[in-house]
Symmetry: C2
Subunit: 357 residues, 2 copies
């Protein structure tokens, strides 16, 4: 396995990363290549935890920031090895992981190699298992195993955001509501009580709910409260005695997970019996921090709020304000046709240089 | 296989029938025993179609009636062989099929043997596969193969009715309504349109619908319109673009199946797109027919309307008014604890004698 050339052509580096297949759980090869290539730089202290690679400067700067990206991808779908279309400003790199998020990883690796005297100390994190269940997540694991690797005043997570800043992220929770009825033969429906009919009151509540728009640290978060699953009924001749509705609440980062649950239980869905299936808090954008302000200035465009939950919440949980910022159109993530443009790759390269050089 | 003794003790006959296991599809043994025992009577012309046995008198009476019962049962559930509890008026016969409907079959077989000079010609039908899908039903099959076996002015179906007359039966139909939405990531719900939320309007319609009560030939039928199944949603983070509701309509026999469908489509559920899954008409009680009136007089109690669909509708389709009348509590049918009382067995025996001797 040849080490990656971190100071050569960015397209070559990115394509080498894409061609190192690294579906979640299979990050060994790419992690070793990343570790080996970073280890040749004296300005970096490189360490490893499973298939997570951490590389940091230790220049005694007043400030330390964390820049992270995940090495894994969703399963390959006939979209490896990589290919390109167009040239110059039109050059696109295609293939599994190109958008989500080896484009960001390539820029981060190149910057880690080149920024040998950054104005802030930097902790670079390249981690495994972002695309799968929480229990496997490399960033969650390192927060348990090496909390000292996750210290800093600000963090950037290189998920695709079209090279715009998406601040923080919303929390998300799921609850299940089971409406109980009384079973009966459907030819004698009046002997029973139809649980599906009774679910109408819950659906009415959801359908008429006006989601909040919440200003947090200068960004507007737009919440959502939605039934995402419904099931009921067992046979064509039986009045159903049970109807279960699963509800997803996406909530702004002004609320903790417990506050969000209480809001549903005591307010929006009061009167219904909620079972909480899962709940994770979001992350405040923290754009009032000096390092964050400097990063916003380097990007030179208005930040927007991140609606979906991302690993920035893990930084928030560790006390570090964080933003999403990376090349690539997020709507292409996980599609077979994912690609990333060299224009955005270069843009991010310039932003990191402006922020850190 | 010894023939059944049709003129001996009724309890012995009934227990012999119950102990001849005859779960739908496995009626061969019981059909052969029935055929063999009936064939020894000169006043009966006995014929066979699959596991259906037909036995009829041909005395040139002005009137012919049909008396039918099914030989099959739902699956055995540790409730064979038969057993009894109590004595005299308290005697109960237990075991799979005792209630549904070998109690009625025992009375019919004994009457077929004993009523050698009935006042009306009688066609006795003992049939297979009543408890399973329409395509296997013996009565439906004989209507195709031997329509001449199903002629008469009136029919009695010996299904358990607590030895009371349940006239005709209601029709039943199922429709499916699929509410379409637009899928989106649940973190950006406003990009989509939640099909489960939109289903609220359909459920509201069903929940507030007041079922009709309809007088037909002197009996009051009580309709029912119910969601019997609902499903929607594919994942915890996707706004569902589809919610499907299955609806069962039980309708009085004043409507044909087509009229019932039109009533839903143009009236109750107007505005929704209905897919008809199945529809069968009910049967009018026909209690204004002379033979029916004589039967009601023999029973000596007020008839009531039958709400559930039964094979009497097959007689109605063949132009023969029909009623349900048999020993056994219908609410025990298909339960593991089914039983039939000798009191009702004797009552039906007397009714048939009064009606036909």
């Amino acid at each position: 396995m040849p080490a990656l050339d971190l100071e050569g052509d960015l397209v070559t580096l990115l394509r080498a990363l894409v061609d190192l297949e690294s579906v979640s759980g299979n990050e060994r090869d790419i992690a070793e290549a990343v570790q080996e290539s970073l280890s040749s730089y004296d300005h970096l202290d490189v360490q490893r935890d499973g298939d997570l690679v951490m590389a940091r400067t230790d220049l005694g700067r007043d400030d330390r920031i964390v820049i992270a990206g995940h090495l894994d991808t969703v399963p390959v779908a006939d979209n490896l090895p990589s290919w390109t279309t167009g040239e110059g400003d039109e050059l696109l790199i295609w293939g599994r992981g190109s958008c989500d998020m080896k484009g960001g990883v390539a820029v981060q690796l190149a910057a880690a190699a080149r920024l040998q005297e950054p104005n802030r100390d930097i902790t670079w994190i390249f981690y495994d298992n972002e695309e799968v269940a929480e229990e496997h997540n490399g960033l969650a694991r390192v927060a348990r195993n090496h909390p000292d690797w996750l210290t800093g005043s600000f963090a950037v997570l290189g998920e695709p955001s079209n090279a715009g800043i998406e601040g923080g992220c919303q929390g998300t929770l799921r609850v299940s509501v089971t409406i109980a009825g009384v079973a009966a033969h459907s030819a004698r429906a009046w002997m029973g009580n139809n649980a599906i009919h009774d679910a109408a009151s819950l659906l009415n509540r959801l359908a008429t709910y006006e989601p909040r728009k919440v200003l947090v640290d200068g960004l507007t978060y737009r919440e959502g409260l939605n039934a995402i699953k419904i099931s009921g009924g067992i046979a064509g001749n039986v009045i159903p005695d049970r109807c279960t509705v699963e509800i997803n609440y996406r909530f702004a980062p002004d609320k903790s997970a417990d506050q969000a649950i209480a809001y549903l239980r005591d307010d929006v869905l009061a009167g219904f019996d909620l079972e909480v299936l899962d709940a994770v808090a979001g992350a405040r954008p923290g754009l009032d921090q000096p390092a964050a302000a400097a990063f916003v200035a380097a990007v030179g465009a208005e930040p927007s709020a991140k609606f979906g939950w991302t690993d920035v919440a893990r930084f928030a949980a560790a006390g570090i304000p964080a933003v999403n910022y990376g090349p690539g159109d997020p709507s292409l993530a996980h599609t077979r046709e994912e690609w990333v443009s060299m224009t955005q790759i270069r843009e991010m390269t310039e932003v990191l240089r402006g922020f850190l050089a």
